[in-house]
């Protein structure tokens, strides 16, 4: 058994929100380590990212009561630039061969006052999304052996319901509090510079540009406060810098993590490679 894993947001996303092989792979990966560390930054990223998408779609579905309109909303958000993915997803949803709506005789549905089979599928989907969201939040701190690097500027508030919609605020840090990430990084300015230098300077990816800018700002002007967006742009760099030397960073985003980890003499590994 490997010693300690420093767990990235992609792993908890796979376990909490996905099913099938992807879910199993990540769960199994965690069990291969004696100890697993999850920084609170990963929980923050999870809530502001994948979980927020689920909440958005749940609420969109409630208000539009229409699958095509809900999926159009997903497309507009550019959650996937690959439109074929959304089209396939819509097909799968409409097919829903093993759902309640496909397995409830229409006369039975009418007997219970269901307007049409669509209302059954609607409620199935709505309840499933709500269940996934609420369970994900409850389980977030129970996946790993340890929760590390607390963020005192960030309040972990459970999603609640109001008028049938899910409220997921806050997803950002408290503006009145001192930035905890800044405090964590200020004693590691050499590491901050090394990680910044490891990001391809010729990359035109928005994510890389923003990350380089924020990392530069931290080591050049360590007393300057970080804004909420800056905290988010740090992303993968946070894991590389905060991961203790004797840990391995567990992530599915190997392409971005590996060079950053390598710059600090650390390593990143994908669950399939364990």
């Amino acid at each position: 058994m490997n010693k300690t894993a420093f767990v990235d947001t992609t792993i908890i996303t796979n376990i909490l929100l996905k099913s099938g092989d992807i879910h199993k792979q990540s769960s199994k990966a965690l069990s291969r380590f004696e100890k697993t560390f999850l920084p609170v930054y990963a929980i923050k990223e999870f809530k502001a990212g994948p979980l927020r998408n689920f909440v958005y779609v749940h609420n969109k579905l409630i208000n539009t009561k229409s699958y095509p309109k809900t999926l159009q909303a997903i497309q507009r958000l550019s959650l996937t630039p690959q439109r074929y993915k959304t089209a396939t997803a819509l097909e799968a949803l409409m097919e829903a061969s093993k759902s309640f709506s496909e397995n409830t005789p229409s006369d039975l549905a009418k007997k219970y006052g269901q307007k049409d089979m669509g209302s059954i599928l609607f409620d199935e989907t709505r309840l499933s999304l709500k269940t996934i969201i609420l369970i994900a939040w409850k389980r977030r701190r129970k996946l790993t052996t340890d929760i590390v690097n607390p963020l005192f500027c960030y309040r972990e508030v459970a999603p609640t319901e109001k008028r049938g919609l899910i409220l997921d605020k806050p997803v950002s840090c408290s503006p009145d509090s001192k930035c905890s990430i800044k405090e964590l990084l200020k004693d590691k300015l050499n590491d901050v510079k090394a990680v910044r230098d490891a990001i391809d300077p010729d990359s035109t990816k928005k994510e890389d540009l923003n990350r380089r800018r924020v990392l530069k700002s931290i080591y050049r002007t360590p007393k300057r406060e970080l804004r909420e967006n800056d905290c988010r742009y740090l992303g993968d760099a946070v894991f590389s810098i905060l991961a203790p030397k004797d840990t391995i960073i567990l992530t599915t985003n190997i392409k971005d993590h590996k060079p950053l980890a390598k710059a600090l003499g650390k390593d990143a590994i994908h669950p399939v490679d364990l």
């Binding site: 099913s19 992807i22 779609v57 996937t80 093993k98 409830t104 039975l108 709500k130 369970i135």
Partner: protein, 185 residues
């Protein structure tokens, strides 16, 4: 003019004063009445006035009772290593879940649990039969719904987590691609 009882302190200490005795007598009578037992009420009779609560509650309770019997049989068969009989009973239980879901206007807690159980069994159907532990957990959820059909969503979520912990997948197959997109695949 108000009459006041004057109690000798020594009598009070020994409990032989009139007031203390009177208080004790009243206390005994009250306790006797509060311990009178009424015949236990079953859930169905509490909700017998279905029209006032929901038109579906009484039917849901009947279905849950039927479901409980199937599960009980499945558990017994599983305990005797009779997998075929156990799975057969599960099929009967599974067949009444769509009608139970039709009663979901009882509340989101109710609907979420039925939905989760349905998805759990659906996802398991393709690969394996339910284990004894899984059957016991589903049975516990059904019994809980019988006694608390209006349970809140938060309570339902805790129960669904317990169901997941028996290694059952409660996520519906038709949402797999959507959840993949939303998770940033």
């Amino acid at each position: 003019m108000t009459e006041t009882n004057i109690i000798q302190f020594d009598s009070y200490k020994t409990g032989t004063d009139n007031v203390t005795q009177l208080v004790a007598q009243i206390k005994d009578e009250t306790e006797e009445k509060s311990y009178e037992t009424a015949p236990p009420m079953d859930t169905a009779s509490i909700y017998s006035n279905a029209g006032a609560v929901t038109s579906h509650i009484s039917r849901a309770l009947v279905l849950l009772e039927e479901g409980k019997v199937y599960l009980s049989n499945a558990i017994a068969a599983s305990s005797n290593n009779d997998e075929i009989d156990s799975d057969n009973e599960v099929q009967h239980f599974y067949a009444l879940l769509p009608e139970l879901f039709c009663c979901r206007d009882i509340g989101d807690g109710f609907g979420a649990i039925i939905n989760a159980i349905y998805n759990a069994i659906t996802n398991q159907l393709d690969s394996d039969i339910l284990t004894l532990g899984q059957l016991n957990k589903i049975s516990q959820l059904v019994i809980r719904l019988q006694s608390e059909p209006f349970l809140e969503i938060d309570q339902a979520i805790e129960l669904i987590i317990e169901l997941e912990d028996t290694d059952l997948n409660i996520k519906p197959q038709h949402l797999e691609q959507i959840t993949g997109i939303l998770s940033g695949e």
